[in-house]
């Protein structure tokens, strides 16, 4: 299997943060790479957008070759953008990202 990159919205750069409850307006994305089981935290360039933060965040994730996201609720624009970008969407919950990734590995997250 090829490596996969999964993005989760978070509000801070601390170790193992809790998933943020908004997608496009999250300060950062925590990106998990299955190749080496590593996580990196990157700033979300869309956080300050006047409008259209969701699609702008998707565009950013798409440029980072993200294949899946684990998200809270999504607006219609972000949802449409993720699907158009062929990014798989998993329903997350506000728990630490490591727990979410474990759940994803065990195939316990619902695909949206």
């Amino acid at each position: 299997m090829n490596n996969l990159k999964i993005a989760i919205p978070v509000s801070s750069k601390i170790d193992n943060p809790i998933m943020f409850e908004r997608f496009g307006r999250a300060n950062y994305f925590c990106i998990f790479d299955t190749e080496d089981d590593s996580t990196v935290v990157v700033a979300n360039p869309a956080v300050g957008a006047r409008g259209g933060a969701g699609p702008r965040a998707v565009e950013f994730l798409s440029s980072k070759q993200i294949q899946s996201v684990i998200v809270p609720q999504l607006g219609p624009n972000a949802d449409g953008a993720l699907r158009a970008a062929q990014i798989t969407i998993f329903q997350g919950e506000p728990i630490p990202v490591k727990n979410l990734i474990d759940k994803w590995k065990k195939d316990e997250l619902r695909k949206l």
Partner: protein
Amino acid sequence: MQITIVSGKGGTGKTSLAVSLAMTLENVQLIDADVDEPNCSLFLDLKTKLVAEAKIPIPEINYDLCTLCGKCSSNCEYNALMKVPDQILVFEKMCHGCGLCSKICPENAITEVPRTIGHLYEGKNKEFLFNYGALIVGEELSTPVISQLKQLISKDKPIIVIDSPPGSSCPMVETVIDADYVILVSEPTPFGLSDMKMVVKTLRVLEKKFGVVINKDGVGDEELELYCQKEEIPILLKVPFDLEIAKNYSKGIPFLNVLPGMDSKLKQMIVDIGEALE
């Protein structure tokens, strides 16, 4: 002469004043530019018909030419365009119709196609001309509807009365930008005064001549009048706080037809405004 009626706070009496003022004049055009919620027609006994659609140009991508370079999406101020690996997505409702994308596309792959966001209406009764615009429910951009409504301003009418949207943001600015005189309706409450100050600031930036009509005079406090004195803003008229006005308002009767002597007061106000403009 174009007289535009604004307020800071909503519900201070713009529409009541606009309708009352227009009805005291004989050869006049009344324009309801509060396109998010036009309601002048509730007080007018005339039929209106659709005369035009308000449209904005939105981009259409020609994929025979598009190389997915992403220049359009990365430069879109409103995030209405988004590049994904195999296409450029257009978020129609985010688009302000500025046209930048079609101009900067290196491949000329973007054409602009019109999208209807509102409707423009007209009604007549002898020499009384009435126009209003209505934004389609679910749409967000009032300003282009207002700017297209303003194209219906008559060149034959000596006086145009325009009812503006509340606030002091883009739709209000678009409505007052060509006005010869602006009437600021306010109520004498802390809330009314606070919002009015923002409008005063805006009107001063726009270098507009303006005066204040105090509506619901008698409620609240004296701060509004003291502010007007201090800032040397003329108080054109005071409309009292009166239960009869509210009762008649709910039946679609403007205060012009409720308060004795209002007709001559409004006519005098127009004379005063004319003198202020000389």
